[in-house]
């Protein structure tokens, strides 16, 4: 099977920032991503949990598979973004079947 290496970005952001980050991904050349709801967790900013109150405190996970240049540009943007706002980003290598899609 012909597998090609691409980059997977896992970006965890507050719900209010979702459209802001999605716009950035589009601008930096990322062709596709999926968004998932966070249920609960804990980190440097303490524990959090999905709730009907505390608007904007919910977290979203964005998973994007892309090429190396787009991933690096997104990382540079996120490094700056996370100097102020809650969240994290992970970058890893993944093997894909149809590289032209990413």
């Amino acid at each position: 099977m012909n597998l090609v290496t691409r980059k997977k970005l896992e970006i965890f952001v507050e719900a209010h920032a979702l459209s802001h980050v999605e716009r950035m991904l589009l601008n930096e050349g990322v062709k596709g991503w999926s968004v998932f709801d966070g249920v609960e967790g804990a980190g440097a900013h303490g524990a959090w949990r999905q709730s009907a109150v505390d608007g904007g405190g919910d977290m979203r996970l964005i998973i994007a598979v892309t090429n190396e240049p787009a991933a690096q540009k997104a990382l540079a943007w996120l490094k700056d973004y996370f100097s102020d706002y809650r969240g994290l980003v992970c970058l890893s290598d993944v093997q894909v079947l149809r590289p032209e899609r990413f």
Binding site: H16, G46, V53, D54, G55, G57, D84
Partner: protein, 329 residues
């Protein structure tokens, strides 16, 4: 009976209403780590229903009463309280606590802004004891959500700009002016004011019989959320706890005196005091997360949601009503 006796009996009667007891049940279940939970989407739907009812019924009653000088005076007083009290709250917090400037401003914004559920509980309390109030107080509630957030931004001033993304002005403006709660509350009020009796006749079976039950269910969830928030904040400074319990009394006293001065009724004065004493946990946190991301959300949420909200619900509401009754009598 003296005022303390009447406050005591009113507080006891308030504690034994279903809505308050469901809140207590939620808190106890949360503290005992029960697996009782209201699904998030259900809780959000309940919150939307409550805001629709409060806004719509307020609009209908404003339609009945027409545009009055009392409405304008109440609105102006509400705006002034919401905008000005954060400056005093901020100064007090900086003196009594070790909070950094940004977190103190965010806390102040929460206490200048208002709690819709506390308002709903207070309205039900007044109905229960037969005290009349104006429908337009729902509009005052909507007016008081935002000015405190603007006041916090003024307090922090240039310090808000900590990075290239902060503040995200477009997102902040959208959050402040177009957050879902504000849009539904104001929108429902306007729909109620436009449709009046005709609209009320059509929606009466939706907005009236279910309201108490939905409020109970939402307060059950609020009890669970408040107890969880309390469990997540074991290191809250004593000074901040004292602030969360005494600031509502101070703000309510200012609102009560000012309301009596401009001639509001005892019911409206009570609701104005409740609004001034309550702290936001929906609109303000959402705006602060965007505008002041370095403020400690654990502090402002714990104070407003886990301390001040239960205090107002259990003790504050009958106390503010008794004070309003005493002042306006």
């Amino acid at each position: 009976m003296d005022i303390f006796g009447s406050v005591g009996s009113a507080a006891a009667a308030n504690l034994l209403t279903p809505a308050i007891l469901f809140f207590v049940l939620g808190m106890v279940a949360g503290l005992l780590r029960s697996d009782l939970a209201i699904p998030e989407q259900v809780a959000k739907t309940l919150a939307l229903y409550l805001m629709l009812c409060i806004g719509f019924k307020g609009g209908v009653e404003a339609h009945r009463a027409g545009l009055s000088s009392e409405l304008l005076a109440s609105g102006a007083l509400g705006l002034a309280l919401s905008f000005l009290t954060p400056f005093a709250a901020f100064a007090l917090l900086r003196v009594i606590s070790k909070l950094d400037r940004t977190t103190a401003a965010a806390v102040a914004a929460h206490y200048g802004s208002v709690s819709v559920v506390t308002f709903a509980a207070a309205s039900e309390y007044l109905r229960g004891i037969g005290v009349e109030f104006s429908g337009h107080m729902a509009a005052v509630l909507a007016l008081m959500e935002t000015p405190a957030i603007l006041a916090a931004l003024l307090i922090v001033g240039g310090n808000a700009s900590q990075g290239a993304h902060n503040p995200r002005r477009g997102a902040l403006l959208r959050e402040v002016l177009l957050n879902g709660a504000a849009v539904l509350l104001v929108g429902s009020f306007v729909i109620g004011a436009i449709t009046g009796e005709r609209g009320y006749d059509r929606l009466e079976m939706f907005v009236n019989p279910l309201f108490q039950g939905v409020l109970c269910l939402f307060l059950l969830d609020m009890g669970l959320v408040a107890s969880r928030q309390l469990a997540m904040s074991p290191n809250l400074q004593f000074n901040l706890l004292a602030y969360a319990l005494t600031w509502p009394l101070l703000a309510a006293a200012i609102a009560t005196i000012a309301s009596a001065q401009i001639g509001l009724s005892a019911g409206d004065t009570t609701l104005m005091a409740v609004l001034a004493a309550s702290a936001s946990y929906i609109a303000a946190p959402a705006a602060m997360r965007i505008a002041l991301p370095r403020a400690d959300a654990g502090v402002y949420l714990s104070l407003s949601l886990a301390i001040t909200f239960p205090f107002n619900l259990l003790i504050g509401i009958p106390l503010y009503q008794a004070a309003a009754d005493f002042m306006v009598r």
